[in-house]
Symmetry: C2
Subunit: 423 residues, 2 copies
């Protein structure tokens, strides 16, 4: 056995993914385990059971975050492996679950190899990462790092009207451990990419440098309804045309700036939305993202210019509303370098990239060096019952995670372990 | 009295417009007199009553078209003044009604002046011009000119499920006169513009050269749904972006070709229509119109090229469906020239133009020389409860119509009438 590697089992990881995927399983595939529902409670029970089987010390904090800790040779902050097990309403088996269950597999392998690490190793499952039932998303990790007061978080109302504190108590996960009580010396999150880049470029491991900044704007364009047959082009105030031009130009802007800029007009609603009536009103959303705050601001400024110019040219009024604005998060460069180095040493092809979606890691990055490992998502699908990552890819990421954790946690009994595994 | 003019009364015309507007009146203004409803029946009763008061010979044909004829000094085809009295669900007082009631005012003025015309003069109100309740629109005039067999028309189902023949009988307008029995030597239709051009250019009379050709296409664009944050621009198949680019380019095409080309994307529906999801599907309509069939075909061909190019560039599939296609109609040039000459002689400012909307005149043009007179619509509004045309404008069109009818019908007793009116 290579002293820096661990005998992790991809089969065991997949078996746990499949077992957890049966909790809240949807007919025809996929899973619905919305945060703090009965299904989420059952999923937590399964994970806690596994943690206990593996000998971990399990604690639950006041917002329901689960921590299972394997002691090190000395006390202190843990090397933490985390993610979440809640899903969207039509989710898959991998998003979130992979990060938690890969953590358990690393623990299992440490146990199998009889390794004592210097630092403790903790597997964490954070509450309500998806934000599908309670807003904001990444709520549990946000509370964990002190970004949202516990009382405020507990008072959050679900989209179905339920209060978070009540739902937490109902499933038995209103824990007593203090918020932030378990400190991380480093935080690793292993996740499927949820996008198509790794698959499209046939890359095995995504080395995640950070999380993109997000800027969401809703535009309401008001023109004048008129007859499509009798109103000459020059006398129109066509809100639908203004919306179309803005959507086309914003995409052109993203393509012109290039790199990691993404711009999406995913929602457009015209009024009255009839074949022969020039639209009086258009409500559209514009989603802009970039990993660099400076560039995101440039994109936002150029976008604002496009809106002003098109609105003036088409003689429509514009009302703007910011729906969301998050600055980019950069992961710890030294840790990111190690993800890349370890993956390469293991023979994997790698690519540095930014996460386009939010993850608990971006919250943990506020209090500890954090990094993420991505593996390919077939077809780029996620938040989708057809979400899938191949066995070999799951194994690649698992091996990288295991080596990183061992490297970071330190081998207290390296010689003993090595000798037991040696030929 | 000028021998070529008639003492028409705009006040009397407006009083009839207002009286008819009270039948099916909506709270807060406007009128709902959908074809062959009880309200339409009551409106017809009012018009038939006026026709009889004016001494007209009233006949109703098999599709419910109303004809009120004032005899001439010799038999033969009539000079026909026509339009319709059905409205859309939220209509105004002018669209259609003006043409019929102005016809009655011309009759009243002929009666007042004691004029005997050579040709008969007929006022016609055609069934279901709007097409709001039964498809196709202009159904009564289409049947009148032999464009749709009576039996087929009678079997038409309303959007509310009712059969046309039953509804016609229910309101007492299943007439016995033979279809096309009253022939037109010439057909005049006096109508509000329903568009903003005359008002915008401060022109009093629109000299209508014909009706635009209409081409309606529904496009269904199919791309691939993907995550707005994790899917790079180059890996997208964004149906919403393809729709926006097509809409923007089609408007650009209309502006580039210029003249009377109008292009409208009035309806767009994205799926799933969410802020952070690249749209998988877009269904959009494209309404193209031009008075010249050759140019309309060029526009259609260029539109098809835009769709093909954008679809290829955005990697989306396209399905096309033709929703409507009507060739342009040209009115009789000699009659159009007379409209212009008479209006100018009366001191009116004029503008030649094409109708962007359909009118009964385009059906009558198949069997007789036809022409239309337009007057301004305030704000270009029509098919709208706020539809309005000023008293002076109503009078301008009425005077032009009266002179044209008298000119075309011929004065059998010109000297007597002139002497009675002379100072």
């Amino acid at each position: 056995m290579n002293p820096s590697s661990l005998p992790v089992s991809t089969d065991r990881l997949v078996a746990r993914l499949e077992a957890l995927g049966r909790v809240g399983a949807l007919e025809g595939g996929g899973v619905c385990r919305l945060a703090l529902t009965k299904a989420d409670g059952e999923g937590r029970d399964l994970v806690v059971g596994w943690m206990k089987e593996l000998g971990l010390d399990v604690v639950v904090d006041g917002i329901g975050n689960l921590f299972g800790t394997r002691a090190g040779s000395r006390p202190g902050p843990s090397v933490m492996i985390g993610s979440h097990i809640d899903t969207v309403a039509t989710g898959g088996l991998y998003d979130g679950n992979l990060g938690v269950l890969a953590g358990l597999e690393v623990i299992a392998a440490l146990n199998d190899a009889g390794i004592v690490t210097e630092h403790p190793v903790t597997v964490a499952a954070f509450t309500n990462e998806e934000g599908a039932r309670f807003q904001p998303d990444m709520l549990g990790s946000l509370v964990h790092v002190g970004g949202l007061p516990l009382e405020e978080a507990l008072a959050t109302k679900a989209v179905d009207g339920a209060v978070l504190a009540d739902e937490l108590a109902a499933i038995g996960y209103a824990g007593e451990a203090s918020i932030g009580g378990i400190e991380a010396a480093a935080y690793f999150e292993y996740h499927i990419e949820q996008g198509p880049v790794l698959e499209a470029e046939a890359i095995e491991i995504g080395v995640v440098e950070g999380v993109q900044g997000i800027s969401w704007t809703e535009l309401t364009l008001t023109g004048r309804s008129s007859h499509a047959g009798t109103t000459p082009m020059r006398l129109r105030r066509d809100a639908g045309l203004a919306a179309a031009r803005i959507a086309a130009e914003v995409a052109g802007l993203a393509r012109e700036i290039g790199g990691d800029v993404v711009a999406t007009v995913g929602s457009v609603k015209l009024t009255p939305n009839l074949v022969n009536v020039v639209a009086a009103r258009a409500v559209m959303t514009v989603d802009l993202r970039h990993p660099d705050e400076g560039i995101l601001r440039v994109v936002e400024a150029r976008f604002a210019e496009i809106v002003d110019r098109v609105a003036a040219e088409e003689k429509v009024e514009v009302a703007r509303r910011t729906l969301a604005r998050f600055e980019p998060v950069a992961f710890a460069p030294a840790l990111v370098d190690r993800v890349e180095a370890v993956a390469k040493r293991q023979g994997r092809s790698t690519r540095r990239m930014f996460s386009g979606a939010g993850h608990d890691a971006q919250m943990l990055a506020r209090v500890a060096p954090a990094a993420m490992i991505f593996v390919p998502s077939v077809g780029g699908l996620s938040h989708n019952v057809r979400e899938f990552t191949a066995h070999a890819d799951l194994g690649n990421g698992l091996s990288v995670l295991a080596e990183l954790v061992l490297e970071r946690a330190g081998h207290a009994n390296v010689d003993a372990a090595a000798s037991r595994g040696a030929v």
